[in-house]
């Protein structure tokens, strides 16, 4: 049975349910920007924001875990210890229930940006330990790892490490200086993002190997050089989050220097652009590939934005503005979500499902890309306006600056809701396919 990747599909189905919830909470929260206090009589922005962030985090982490399990199942069928995987998923579900319930009772962790009462982090850490065990027991049997196994291993290991580091503030030693606390907080946060990116980009590598039928790329020295470049950035580029924090200056220097190595990645994307497009023309009809191709375009756009934001003098204009939000949304939706949706189509849907390639889904795919682009550009414009405002000699009051951007906030909310609807449609289509398969098996059993 497990050669059918049942456990991977279960993880991905839970991830899609969390995506659905996260989109709905995000959609409601965004309305606060044009209608202050919207829905506050029953749920405030202070609850909606962590609900949105946590559900999306669950989507990414459980989706990445499901993709890795699916990949491992494809490489080494029946190797993962399935009861442990189910226990892992069970721990995630318990953690999700407790965390979502804690927001409804206004119990917060209160730390930017993924926050919940710290005691529930133990459940997530335990789930991750089981994942680490399962992962290591499978990959140890594989000889000559392709680059995506290195990336998955990096992601699984560094997630546990940086997730733990994120709670060092519980010890008074780390909290005695506010600046030190923030330095370590953003060191952990920066590397935490890098860790799940490694798992998701590894999945993209794996899928490209599988879809193109060419496995040489993932074993080439060039692929490994790019991996090590990414790993170096995961470890040392986090300082660009805290350029304005009065911490040690060498943190800025190290981060600035390491971040600038990303020009190499950008140059490589431009150099390979023609090849990428040629390949896209051959495989574009195939839905998983289509999402991977979309993610490559978003990698290019967001990498360019990230590099510019990592130059300290430019960072003064972007830090603390909606340009940072544009970058976060662009990478989370444009890159991570596109790759995970591609993985869901590959691992969850049958090749002959009539939904794949239907006109409706084709339209929704393009609607997603278009609305995300409008959403992203609008956030950049709002951020630029705020950046210019904060650099004025005598800026107007904060509330006036926000009120002057009312028109742009309307575009942000409308494009965000269109994006929410389009992504919801895709998630529901995938879940529908999954549940149909489950029920048809039960009926035939």
């Amino acid at each position: 049975m497990e050669t059918e990747n049942k456990i991977g599909k279960f993880f991905l189905a839970v991830a899609l349910i969390m995506l659905t919830l996260g989109l709905i909470f995000g959609g409601i929260a965004s309305i606060s920007y044009i209608s202050p206090g919207f829905a506050s009589s029953w749920i405030g922005f202070v609850q909606l924001r962590p609900l949105h962030v946590s559900c999306i985090m669950f989507f990414i982490l459980i989706g990445a875990s499901g993709s890795v399990y699916s990949g491992l199942n494809s490489l080494m069928p029946k190797s993962a210890y399935i009861p442990i995987a189910y226990l892992q998923l069970g721990l995630w579900l318990v953690a999700i229930i407790f965390i979502l319930f804690s927001y409804s009772t206004k119990q917060f962790g209160g730390r930017e940006y993924w926050e919940f009462p710290p005691k529930y982090a133990i459940l997530i850490a335990l789930a991750w330990l089981l994942f680490l065990y399962n992962f290591v027991t499978v990959v140890i049997k594989i000889k000559k790892w392709p680059v995506y196994i290195w990336m998955w291993m990096t992601g699984v290991f560094f997630f546990l490490l940086t997730f733990t580091e994120n709670y060092l503030w519980e010890f008074p030693y780390f909290r005695e200086h506010f600046v030190k606390d923030m330095t370590i907080q953003w060191k952990a946060n920066g590397s935490l993002v890098g860790s799940w990116n490694q798992m998701i980009y590894g999945t993209a590598f794996f899928l490209m190997d599988k879809l193109s039928g060419n496995t040489a790329g993932s074993k080439s020295n060039l692929a490994f050089r790019m991996y090590f470049l990414g790993l170096g950035n995961l470890m040392f580029n986090w300082g660009h989050h805290i350029y304005t924090l009065p911490t040690e200056n060498y943190i800025r220097v190290v981060s600035y220097a390491v971040s600038m190595t990303e020009w190499i990645l950008l140059a490589r994307i431009i150099y390979l652009f023609r090849k990428t497009v040629t390949e896209a023309q051959k495989l574009f009809h195939y839905f998983p590939f289509r999402f991977l191709f979309a993610s490559e375009i978003w990698v290019f756009l967001n990498l360019a934005l990230a590099i510019l934001m990592s130059i300290p003098v430019l960072n003064l204009y972007t830090h603390g503005t909606h340009i940072t939000v544009a970058h976060a949304m662009g990478t989370t939706i444009g890159i991570n979500t596109m790759i995970l949706l591609g993985a869901c189509f590959e691992f969850m849907m049958k090749k002959n499902d009539t939904l794949v390639g239907s006109k409706v889904l084709n339209f929704v795919f393009w609607l997603t890309q278009f609305s995300l682009f409008v959403f992203w550009v609008t956030l950049i414009i709002i951020g630029l306006n705020r950046g210019m405002w904060q650099m004025q000699t005598t800026p107007s009051p904060f509330s006036s600056m926000m009120a002057e951007q009312g028109g742009l906030f309307h575009v942000f909310v409308v494009s965000g809701i269109v994006l929410m609807i389009s992504l919801l449609t895709i998630a529901v289509a995938l879940l529908n396919s999954f549940f149909k398969e489950i029920f048809s098996r039960k009926l035939s059993a």
Binding site: K106, L245, P312, V313, G320
Partner: protein
Amino acid sequence: MKDNWKRYVFAILVFSFFAFSLHLYSIKNFEYRKGYNSKLAQNGELVWQKYNCQSCHQMYGLGGYLGPDLTNVLSVNGKNATYVLAVIQTGNKQMPANNLSEDEKTEIIEFLKSTDASGVSDPKSFVKQVNGMISKDGNGN
């Protein structure tokens, strides 16, 4: 054999990461202006977290986007502890009213005093350098 370079590079990076992490954990010489109670300020940070203030407000540009950055709110002309406590107590357009205990009020104000004493978050306070770096005094500090 020819694949060993991957292991070496990985080992060097991981070693550097741990060494850098341990070094950062050991830093103690952050310079602060005084004028606040350190213990109360630490508790005040927990009050800040308890009411999830960061979902709307920022410290050094890090946090939510609905409200203003509060790092130096106590230094802003016309805004003092009384003003801050009044806003916390009554709320305004977006901001909900928060019913803090007397201890929590004292602690959150000490926390805001400590953030104010830690430095200036205003991006205008930085000197821009031709190499793309920024500093407070133009000499890399």
